[in-house]
Homo-oligomer: 411 residues x 2
């Protein structure tokens, strides 16, 4: 089984936006053992898109496309698909019902431009979109099955998982390329590479490689073959990787560091409070993105100003004057202050210099102090994080979450 992936949009073909959907679709196809022949990115131009649909349909069993399903006149994927199918556009009853339901829920009348989104090629099926106005399309061009999804990232992601993936799986053969990802934090990439050197040799199967995201190192292990054999091969490698990287491993697959922290808090029945200066709410925002965290995460304070550190966290003004806001004593006082204020078992605090200004030779941009406190004791750590402002904040937030994780592991 073979697939061609299309992405449609002026902003993509001109490079104004980066296409990440094609890679997402390609990974789904690969995982199902469907060979991806090529990706193509084309402009919002109906005749050109129609030609690409026909060429793709001649080369593959599946043509999977994204983009150009919006309500505005530059969106012409529906027209192009109808042209490639050699049929007319017509009002699709199911799509219209979806749009009418959508506008009813919002208490707003259905606009003419939204009504355009229900005009589908005759004979095409609807892929439901519960979170947007653009329904997806299932159709045939020649002997190929075509799926078209919206370009809006959240709508695309959901439709890929809920609608397209199951259809591809039902049609896919018994061979798969499987990837396992071991996620780590706290060990540099060069050390990970040294510890795994014998696994990372070229053309070994499974293939073992590393990738860096926000200061965290992911170890990818992949192999192709019959699903059972592949699973056993990957399991053996995954075990070796976890053993060699020890407590730097915080999870597998898509697991986020904050999810691991949330699971540890739940397992140990500990409540948490967070005091943030340079990370400005990022730690809280990450934690709150874990469903069910409200039982354990009691409160966050973004104490960006010194006044807020004093008034809300109870840090003494004298301490800030003596050591500066970015210092070990202030980090400790912030953690202790937010713990007492919130009544939580555990607290973490971060104070640092995210730049671009504010650095000195003694405390350069990227200097960040962390503290973790419970009722019995407070521990502090310093880290120099390199990068731009956003980068420093992201890494500092991950560093803080990792301190919490290691603290909870030791309990």
């Amino acid at each position: 089984m073979r697939a061609v992936i299309l992405s449609i949009g002026s902003e993509l073909v001109t490079g104004l936006s980066l296409d990440t959907h094609s890679a997402d679709i390609a990974r789904v196809c690969s995982a199902l053992g469907i060979e991806v022949v090529r990706h193509e990115t084309v402009d919002d131009d109906a005749p050109a898109i129609a030609a690409v649909f026909r060429r793709a349909a001649a080369a593959a069993d599946f043509v999977i496309a994204t983009g150009g399903l919006g309500p505005t006149l530059d969106d012409c994927t529906r027209e192009a698909l109808a042209e490639a199918m050699g049929v007319a556009l017509e009002m699709n009853a199911e799509a219209l019902a979806h749009l009418e339901g959508w506008s009813k829920t919002r208490g707003k009348p259905l606009s003419d431009s939204n009504r355009r989104q229900a005009m589908l090629p005759r004979g095409a099926g609807v892929l439901p979109n519960p979170i947007g106005t653009a329904v997806g399309i299932a159709a045939r061009v020649g002997s190929a099955q075509v799926y078209v999804m919206p370009g809006v990232p959240s709508e695309f992601r959901r439709m890929l998982d809920a609608e397209v993936l199951p259809r591809l799986r039902a049609a896919s053969p018994g061979r798969a390329t499987v990837v396992r990802t071991i996620r780590t934090q706290g060990v540099p990439e060069s050390i990970v590479g040294e510890r795994l050197a014998d696994l990372m040799v070229p053309r070994r199967s499974p293939h073992v490689g590393t990738a860096v995201h926000g200061g965290m190192i992911d170890v990818h292990i992949y192999a192709s073959g019959a699903p059972d054999e592949v699973a056993a091969l990957l399991e053996a490698d995954a075990r070796v990787v976890c053993e060699r990287l020890g407590d730097a491993v915080f999870g597998e697959g898509d697991t986020r560091l904050e999810e691991t922290v949330a699971a540890l808090l739940a397992g140990r029945r500990k409540t948490l409070a967070v005091a943030e200066s340079c990370t400005g709410g990022l730690i809280a925002a990450k934690l709150v993105n874990v469903p069910g965290i409200s039982t354990y995460f009691l409160e966050g304070v973004v104490a960006y100003s010194n006044e807020s550190k004093v008034r809300t966290l109870g840090v003494s003004e004298a301490l800030i004057r003596a050591h500066g806001a970015v210092s070990e004593p202030v980090a400790r006082a912030m953690a202790e202050g937010v713990r007492v204020r919130s009544g939580a078992d555990l607290a973490v605090a971060v104070t640092g210099i995210a730049g671009p200004g504010g650095g000195t030779s003694e405390k350069p941009v990227g200097t960040v102090w962390f503290a973790v406190a419970d009722a019995a004791r407070t521990e502090a750590a310093r880290e120099l994080v390199l990068g731009d402002r956003g980068h420093i904040r992201e890494r500092a937030a991950n560093y803080a979450l990792n301190l919490l994780r290691l603290w909870l592991l030791r309990k």
Copy 2:
């Protein structure tokens, strides 16, 4: 002048790595007024790549490719290009001299696999690569000029800027494609489309299109031509777009909503505090990412638990019992509470149901209450935000920032 962009590699076509080179090349082409017809991503497979080279050469003046120039056997772009040109591979003296120089500098003998990298199609030219072993290739297929660059990001980037860009500029006709982006929040895409319908007709110049990010609608305006004329055309359209979309427009280009809010706070010398429940620190995190915000952003409280709303924000328990934590009175009390606590001029509060659980028929998942308060008055607004948890939080944060922006505009 037209270009087709190719990217070559198994890791790209399977989605394991994300192709960012094509977007980089597309931006260079667009800036020089070279129209990008399409991008294609293909596997390391010589006959398939040769076919794609020929098809691309028939459709464009330039074919710009990356990848498949490495020393290992899976790299076959050189063979494929020779096949597309209808010539043999031969040892290229300039490429060999480069490789010999490279190995000499490193004090290592030249390996056979590296020597393969000097085998180029007969008649092809060399694009120097001072930072890697893979030289680039300049060649002709039919009437098209072909450039091939290595896929290694640093080598690609350097060769694009130092070798390919000057050649494209020399061939480009004093024309440029210029893009202006008008950023909006608060008006749905269908309404934007209706207000701009006469500008968004296919094949009009400038081309006007929309794209959605985190609930915000960007209007892109592009045109090609002599730089001065293009600038005047875009200015005229930008003025019309801004006029028709009114105060939904918050900025141009890369401007983020929080930057506009920060500029308004600075302009009006107003300090701000934020109380967040479902957005969990995301509003604070966005604000803190604006350099210099510390003068205006005094404090954020992530009051995720009811206890925190009561203790830190002074919301009365009776109010929460009577109306629920997600309600207009609680949103108002949170805004007023954090304003008083922090001593800020202005405060914004958000409380909502981000899901997946917690929704009821009366208050479904996605129900979010917002409030903005100053010393004189408090205003509240409700919004039903659809999507998954992350999506609801992102959109709710943007909605809150937009309420602040509109409030500050009216001052």
